[in-house]
Symmetry: C2
Subunit: 461 residues, 2 copies
């Protein structure tokens, strides 16, 4: 038979969660959920398979980062979602509010979602191919109060998770678009202003990794081909950008200096106003200003952001990058409806955050099992009594397991209870049955108490 | 742009869960989880993708009911799990307990798992292609106490879910194997005893659907080809089976009569002993005997059961079939290790159960949102005050959302709050600010109270 056996392997980039990891992660997820729900974010769930066209768009390439499904049962190919935002958009587009029937989703709507997303990738790279994202988004609100709530949630989540050292960095795509104006970016024969602007943002986004000099050098480099979107900025433009990125001071000072730099550039002024409003609202929610930092180099890679962008970094574990980031994207449902819909939100990379908090020793893995008490079965003919003890404990809310070992010697059972990680062991042998008592051993304090059988429930209450 | 848009469709057989469905289902899942955990079942999670060979076996066919993944990144094909049992077995095989390092999983081990499983199928059939299963299994225990716990959990889960009318039906594969002996099933040239026995069980399993006469006729029918595993029982054997299936009485009477029928058939006697033990243990856990029913026709289709089998049917919604079923399977890890490991467990078809309970109007969908209070924004320059009110409410544990509507007229906001399903609305206009008060409107009772601003938190506590 052995030659026919299958190796019990897991594909690379996928994780199992066994206790105590499962329990520690569950605690983290509940903490996050509580913060999100306190703001009225409603939970939803969407399936693990969608039409590929939903995820990748009708006109897009086939999405090489997407897990495709071989299905002979569908007219359209299926695929696994790579984020929660696209299924959220599908739901909004499919369930518009109907004023007559009062069915559908009324906007504005705060929704949260937690679950796995999937990225097809080489398993060798060590990157996760399945990981949880925990998202909070608000659809249908153009007010900066919505963006401020997202920032507040970032702060309150980190606080609730016990993270002491973190920064929430804020910027606005509108300011970066203003920067493109300031740098005189314009269409070239085969490349649009838009594409060159995006390339500029992509380069700016590398500031943390490669430093200011290299960023400026890349911004100045000439295009290698006619299709290359390299910004190829003039020396004059580079100086303006250097001045912009060097703006120093607290948030109010930065915004005020920025206002001067972008005098006459209305899109940037709008972005500055928005950031000012967010800071005001966030303060109104009682959030301290200290962890909030205006950082004009933050671009957040994704094309779809249209307004404020934000990210959260752990100061004692910067190598994990941003663990909670997002921004405003007003084109959420345009793939489905062709129309704009204001939306803002942010996403936690749950497994990355869990890894980062583990690295910081901020994850409590002490709970090895949900079982709190183990009842040993010592006397052969006393099962009915042991079962009754377990039942009584469960009736007062104590998770109780009864020893199931085939080897019913006391020592074996007792050692098993220790290795299992339960907090209490119930020991009841011939002596105790005679006296009508029970021995309760606390495995943490090593203290053993003999109590009357009929006080058991009171003892554990 | 419209011609490029994608229809916001979901593939057939996949579900979205929006509030209030999400919240109602979440409540059901938490109820189940609480019962499982009270017995010490530890939660785990395994990935949504596994190696196909893990799921389908090395020598098996490619598993036509399995969703296959196109992945160029893996040496082995990947696929989506169709149940939780195989990944559970993989985990057990991959993490054997090491007495020296004390790493790995110590047996016996109770584990629970909840999450989606996937069946590739034609979407037209209306069957779910993704559905949640909620499993409880015990590995490494050969005692019938383990099986009794599974039965107890079935009862307690139904009770906790508020189901009044249900039966838990019990049988034992060993008795059915004895029946094959009793019916003189033996190898034919091209079909083994084992295959004929399985075919007999498959036919018996249809008793509920097609009735006794048709079952007996099928059992008697001659094989159509040399490879046909039709039992082709003799008239004598048919009479024995008829007598067996007609055994009447309460559970003790049935077992006692059964003992006589199977006199000398040791495998069946063993099965009868096991059922007797289960009933005794279950009674020891304080479970009433009334919903438990020995039913010798239950076979539970799957090949891998080796001992007791059980299923739960809702008497007022029998058309939904068994909503919680399982049994003992001692070959759990043999695919991976080539060895036997005793295991027993059961699985809830969550989405089927949810549908059945909805049908029985036993699902409470009244919670439309997690938000309990909505704070209206009536005065234009009072956002700081409204934010403070919301923050104060959250600080005492009340999920509070602040009105985000762009149209800030009172009527629009108030109507929105009603359609949103929050329980309370906070109304604070110029008058209230002047007096230092707040209007709290209970949308359920329609009662409105004016309270001092500084008593808000106390009011909601």
């Amino acid at each position: 038979m052995a030659e026919d056996t299958v190796k019990p392997e897991r594909p690379g980039g996928f994780l199992d969660f066994l206790p105590p990891d499962y329990l520690a992660r569950e605690k983290m997820l509940k903490t996050i959920e509580k913060v999100f729900r306190s703001f009225g974010f409603d939970p939803i769930e969407t399936p693990r398979l969608e039409f590929l066209k939903t995820l990748a768009g009708e006109t897009s390439d086939t999405g090489k980062n997407i897990f495709h499904i071989k299905s002979t049962h569908d007219d359209e190919p299926l695929a696994m979602p790579f984020d929660h935002t696209v299924p959220f958009a599908r739901i909004l587009a499919a369930n518009p509010y109907n004023t007559r029937t009062k069915a559908g989703i009324r906007l504005p709507w705060r929704r949260m979602v937690v679950g796995p997303v999937f990225r097809s990738d080489t398993p060798q790279s060590g990157r996760y191919r399945q990981f949880y994202q925990f998202d909070a988004d608000i659809a249908g609100a153009s007010s900066m109060l919505a963006d401020a709530e997202i920032v507040a949630i970032m702060f309150l989540t980190m606080e609730a998770l016990g993270v002491k050292q973190f920064k929430i960095r804020l910027n606005n795509r509108k300011i970066l678009n203003g920067l493109a104006k300031l740098a005189n970016i314009a269409d070239r024969e085969e490349v649009s202003t838009d594409d060159i602007t995006k390339e500029m943002m992509r380069i700016l986004d590398k500031l943390d990794k490669i430093g200011l000099d290299k960023v400026l050098a890349e911004l100045q480099a000439e295009p290698e081909t006619a299709l290359d979107a390299a910004p190829a900025l003039s020396g004059d433009a580079i100086e303006k950008i250097r001045a912009f990125l060097n703006l120093k001071g607290n948030n109010e000072e930065k915004l005020s200096l920025c206002r001067t730099v972008f005098e006459g550039v209305s899109i940037a002024q709008e972005g500055i106003d928005e950031l000012g409003q967010i800071l005001e609202y966030v303060a109104g929610m009682g959030i301290p200003s200290e962890p909030l930092e205006i950082d004009f180099s933050i671009a957040r890679g994704l094309d779809y952001y249209t307004g404020p962008v934000m990210e959260t970094v752990l100061l004692d574990a910067p190598e994990f990058g941003s663990v909670f980031s997002g921004g405003r994207y007003n084109n959420l449902v345009s793939r489905f409806t062709g129309k704009e819909l204001p939306a803002t939100g942010a996403s936690i990379g749950v497994d990355r955050l869990f890894a980062a908090l583990s690295h910081l020793e901020a994850i409590d893995r002490s709970e090895e099992t949900v079982a709190e008490v183990m009842v040993l079965r010592i006397e052969k003919d006393r099962d009915a009594d042991y079962l009754r003890i377990a039942t009584d404990l469960r009736s007062v809310g104590i998770n109780t397991e009864i020893s199931l070992a085939d080897d019913t010697t006391f020592k074996k059972q007792f050692n098993f209870a220790i290795s299992r990680g339960v907090k209490f062991v119930i020991i009841c042998g011939g002596n105790e049955f005679e006296k009508g008592t029970i021995q309760v051993k606390n495995l943490q304090t090593r203290k053993q108490e003999e109590i009357p059988r009929d006080e058991l429930m009171k003892y554990f209450k």
